[in-house]
């Protein structure tokens, strides 16, 4: 955990120091237990948070539709294609496995197709999660992932349409770079306003979201400058040139196979960790995020870091927008501009992933799987209506955000449990 997490890796390995131990107290064991608790607490609380969210979601399913929640979750899980990763099929009989069959990795099975779908959704979620997390590490709350994503997507489309003569990889790089810079500029505006005038980033990023949405709607909409002149009846841009398509490495390119953007997103997790922990920029960002006043006293320009952190956050989100365009959408239509939620789900991804690289990977996987598993295409409608299931995803997303805020409550309950046990143990010892 500590290796990849955004936290400085010192906390987990170290036994917390207590002020001068008294000879009577068995300090090593107590301290060791405390360290273990902290270490496990780091992983356990997010897992607990997710489990409780699913539990409540299941209750909602049962209370409102009378359907068996376990059955529903099973169907959703089936739709995610994640079972492809373990190539065995287990038949359960009550509570023990009745039979285990080796199914092997069939790269063309429906399950494989589902998994490709899931990972295509996970890809931008990783990046918008990073967009929220990086700002968090600087003490900023970036709600503007959605706008930064939209700006990135718009620029990627335009650059994909232009430069049609460029050789493949170069075209992709140019379009991606332009989109990343556009996202950085969009995020940077909020950072600059914060640094220059103290305007709160939550307010400015929300406003920038709306600006991106309506500027995008104008550009893409009917008679907009980016609308495809051939598609008179549909508000949609021209398709990008073939040379700007990302390479599909798994599955059929015509059926939305998995593109290399997935690896770019995973690589960005490493970039995120390295920038934070191995560069002076990351040092400054973390110092400002932990204690801006101490950072200023130390000679760090707080305003400059507000700007840079928001710009880098925006860059992650802009990149996400470009990868979706170049990887599988290939054009941008008005409904996408107006209904995209990827940036907002990124908030839940970052919160549940505790702003650590590895945590963001897993929580992006969770939310990506939920989105795919509850989609009309992947969920068996005889088990549960996909339209309802889509709301279930939102419920779980909302609960996660709510519970992460209630982290302290969970830790408190954890401690209370210990306190309750302590007198019992003492009584047992005396007996």
């Amino acid at each position: 955990m500590s290796g990849l997490s955004g936290e400085p890796p010192d906390m987990t390995g170290q036994t917390p120091e207590v002020s001068e131990p008294t000879p009577e107290s068995k300090v090593p064991s107590v301290a060791a237990r405390l360290a273990l608790w902290q270490r496990s607490g780091g992983v356990i609380t997010p897992i607990l948070t997710a489990l409780i969210a699913f539990l409540i979601g299941g209750l909602v399913v049962f209370a409102t539709t009378g359907k068996d929640p376990v059955h529903t979750y099973k169907a959703i899980f089936k739709g995610t294609g994640l079972s492809w990763l373990s190539p065995v099929s287990i038949h359960w009989h009550l509570f023990y496995p009745a039979g285990i069959h080796w199914t092997g990795w069939d790269t063309t099975s429906p399950t494989a197709l589902n998994l490709q779908q899931t990972l295509i959704v996970v890809t931008p979620l990783i990046l918008t999660g990073l967009a929220v997390a990086f700002a968090f590490r600087c003490g900023l709350f970036n709600i503007g992932g959605n706008g930064q994503y939209t700006v990135g997507a718009l620029v990627a489309v335009q650059f994909g349409v232009w430069f049609a003569g460029l050789p493949g990889p170069l075209h992709v790089i140019v379009a991606m770079l332009a989109a990343t810079l556009a996202g950085a500029a969009w995020g940077g505006i909020a950072g600059f306003l914060k640094a220059a005038t103290g305007a709160h980033e939550v307010i400015t990023t929300i406003m920038l979201n709306w600006i991106a949405l309506w500027v995008g709607s104008y550009l893409v909409g009917f008679n907009g400058p980016m609308q495809d002149p051939r598609a008179v009846s549909a508000p949609v841009t021209r398709p990008i040139a073939d040379s700007a398509h990302l390479h599909v490495f798994w599955g059929n390119p015509l059926l939305q196979g998995l593109h290399v953007g997935f690896f770019i997103a995973v690589a960005m997790l490493f970039v995120y960790w390295i920038v934070l922990n191995r560069t002076t920029l990351g040092y400054e960002v973390r110092a400002v995020g932990f204690n801006a006043e101490a950072a200023r006293y130390g000679g760090i320009s707080v305003g400059r870091n507000f700007f840079l952190a928001m710009a880098i956050s925006g860059a992650f989100a802009g990149l996400a927008g470009s990868i979706d365009i170049l990887g599988w959408e290939f054009n941008l239509d008005l409904t996408v501009v107006q209904t995209v939620q990827i940036g907002f789900i990124g908030i839940a991804v970052a919160l549940l992933g505790r702003n650590s690289a590895i945590g963001i990977f897993f929580s992006a996987l969770l939310f990506g799987a939920l989105l795919t598993g509850t989609s009309t295409r992947n969920l068996d409608p005889s088990v549960f209506q996909p339209q309802l299931a889509g709301n279930l995803t939102r419920i779980i997303q909302g609960l996660v955000v709510l519970f992460v805020g209630a982290d302290l409550l969970i830790i408190y309950l954890w401690q209370a449990r210990k306190k309750l046990r302590l007198p019992q143990r003492k009584a047992a010892e005396q007996a």
Binding site: P8, D10, S25, R278, A287, A294, G298
Partner: protein, 510 residues
Amino acid sequence: MADELTVLELRGITKQFPGVLANDHIDFDLRRGEVHALLGENGAGKSTLMNILYGLYQPDEGQILVKGEPVHLHSPKDAINRGIGMVHQHFMLIPVMTVAENIVLANEPTRAGLLLDTNAADRRVRELSRSFNFAIDPDALVESITVGQQQRVEILKALYRYADILILDEPTAVLTPQEANELFEILRTLTREGMSVIFITHKLNEVLEIADRITVVRRGKRIDTVDRQGATEEGLARMMVGREVLLRVEKPVSDPGDPLLTVDDLHVFDDRGLEAVRGVSFEVRGGEIVGIAGVDGNGQTELIDAITGLRKAASGRVSIAGRDVTGAAPATVLDRGLGHIPEDRQLRGLVLDFSLAENLALHDYDKPPDSRWGWLFPRQLIRRARELLTQFDVRGGGPQTRASALSGGNQQKVVLAREIGRGPSVLIAAQPTRGLDVGAIEFVHRRLVEARDNGKAVLLVSLELDEIISLSDRTLVFYEGEIVAQHGPDVTEDELGIEMTGAGRKVAAA
């Protein structure tokens, strides 16, 4: 041990926190009409013991007897009902309400069970205030009265609830010497009237002034209980720390060299836009410690902020080692050879969530050997941290430990290690021993004198007069943003105390 004079007895109180035995079978008793001081370093277990007595914590073992009767105190309410009142270090008052309203809060006299009887409340507060000589206006808003008066409101609050056992937690920490004397006068009146007072502190001189008996605790254990007669500062310090402590700083006569810090006609505004520093000029030469004495809030903070570049000066000049740094960014000032031990180590001096290695790099992380072309070298940070931590005797953690895990004294040692370790020519120390215990204070003082003897110019700002007097070669007295008096090494606490309140102004002008 217990007789009819004993109003309170704690027997074998034990309290275990995760990893720390905060109280280990502590015995304590309080007689009617006495001030019993509870003396110990930070973290010795004083506050835990008193929080148990006030019903905030439950003891794991032990017994509490109030007036000979065993009691179980489950909440402050239980404690109040038994006549126990507590004045916390941080006051629990509502600034926008009047003194009387604050005092009767949660215990309001009512008419017909519903309406607040303001007159009755007023009358009772006035009575209490008069009978104990408190000199407090019940109708004044709490935010408009001085800190010393606010403390009296807290005491009145306890008396209003018929407390006859009063716990005061570090009551003088927020007071000027004069206000502290007034408090002691009040405590004497209270004990004459038959009240009993538990006085928690780590300051030796106060204990000898006000306490009848003194109980010393160290690392959760009661070391001894002694009468004031026959007790000495040295003896108490030894009991507190567990070894011999040098209370007076030994330092050779200073040998000042060239001026290294020059401040010329400096004017600085505070956050509210008021002129906090009004035309201050002075210089600090290499090899001397210049102390700035003054009541908190007389422009000391703004002066330091302006010198260090954290705040823009309105006019005037600051130079370090002959180079003008007026209006320069904090990073530039630091690189010109300034070390700054800030007033608040937790707010400014340290990033508590950073490791010690990262904290020690706070000024130099952006230069080789810590980093190159924006690339940070964590191993180098750790290597340097290991050296500095040994050199400055930081205990309780290594380079990878988070700063928040250290005790206050060790945190301050980390700040010192960073600021002195860089080899600055000018060292500014603001409140360098605030909240530290005797052992750590001795360490900080020794390091400051050592820095002076190494030819550095040291500017010391402190609210503790004995610290100013024992360390400074020259002392400047600050009052309302001006220097109102200057002294050589021989100055008394009384002189400074008077000048600090503005009475010395005319003398200085002459």
